[in-house]
Subunit: 185 residues, 2 copies
């Protein structure tokens, strides 16, 4: 089954985009099939658990990406301030400078939150903890670091909401620039 693994893995990002744009309830099998170019048979061959398994796979992939590209670098950067700068750059890149919405955030606000509670909780908690660790290494006290990390992650999520609401990605860039200034101050 060498093909299956590759095909399934290649499919997940396409599914992710549908969930991101339409939400969990809005991502119909018809849309999912259309976005991937796969019929129902193929979809259920790769994801026997149906829509639920697809969403779980998408959440796993998002978790993996952030863990690899954001959280770990943030914890392990030799220079914590450079790690924070890189985290913000990776975040801006991932969210297409505000033109893309956060899948986990969108899930969190809807009914899907309860269904995927563990993944949703874990995503934000990891982010906050990784950022707090970097801030501590940069010299801040434990409580202050945790608070600033909560503020930072919340601000990023809010910036995505505002950018999407206004239909103006620029506001995301402005907010992130000010956040960087504040975190590195």
């Amino acid at each position: 089954m060498p093909r299956a693994i590759g095909t399934r893995a290649a499919t997940v990002p396409l599914l992710a985009e549908v969930f991101r744009c339409h939400g969990y309830e809005g991502a119909s099998l018809a849309l999912l099939g259309q976005a991937t170019g796969l019929g129902r048979g193929s979809l259920y061959n790769f994801f026997p658990g149906g829509k639920d398994e697809m969403a779980q796979a998408v959440l796993d992939e998002v978790d993996g990406w952030f863990r690899r590209e954001v959280f770990e670098p943030l914890r392990n950067a030799p220079e914590p301030r450079a790690g924070i700068r890189d985290m913000l750059a990776a975040t801006a890149h991932y969210f297409r400078s505000g033109r893309r919405v956060c899948l986990v955030g969108a899930f969190a606000l809807g009914e899907a939150r309860d269904r995927y509670a563990a993944a949703v909780e874990g995503y934000f908690e990891q982010w906050v903890q990784a950022l707090a660790a970097a801030l501590r290494r940069a010299g801040r006290g434990p409580a202050e670091a945790r608070g600033a990390a909560e503020d930072g992650v919340a601000l990023i999520q809010g910036a995505l909401v505002l950018a999407r609401a206004a239909g103006d990605a620029a506001v995301f860039g402005r907010i992130l620039r000010r956040l960087e200034q504040r975190l590195l101050a």
Copy 2:
């Protein structure tokens, strides 16, 4: 038709709660009817435009509430710093200290954004402008005030995302407390 007006007006908050919890697509006529205790006949009698008109009515009511209770006081408070404090208190009260989600924010992240683009854009823009005006009156420069207002509104929205994601309303309170400190500094 004295009854109709009262009944329709009394119905809107109940509809709002359904849209808030389930999103636009998730708010089915069955749920809407159940929450209001009204059959399809009554619902379509009060809202001939169907689900679309119900959502519009809900958005109008939210807009009215914030305009009345948040934006106007923020602009007209004799003492801008007190106005900012009151805005944050009203916000915390409205969102049930983080146990409630922002309907407009939830709409903004989903497909409903485009359908109700004007209402969604207006809500956040009014909020940012009202807060920026208060900050200017409190002595900040125009650019700095606008930036701090964008950050403030985004932070509130992000705090709601985080609180709902974590299933822990306390994080909302912590973020708002720090925001107040920063805005009044």
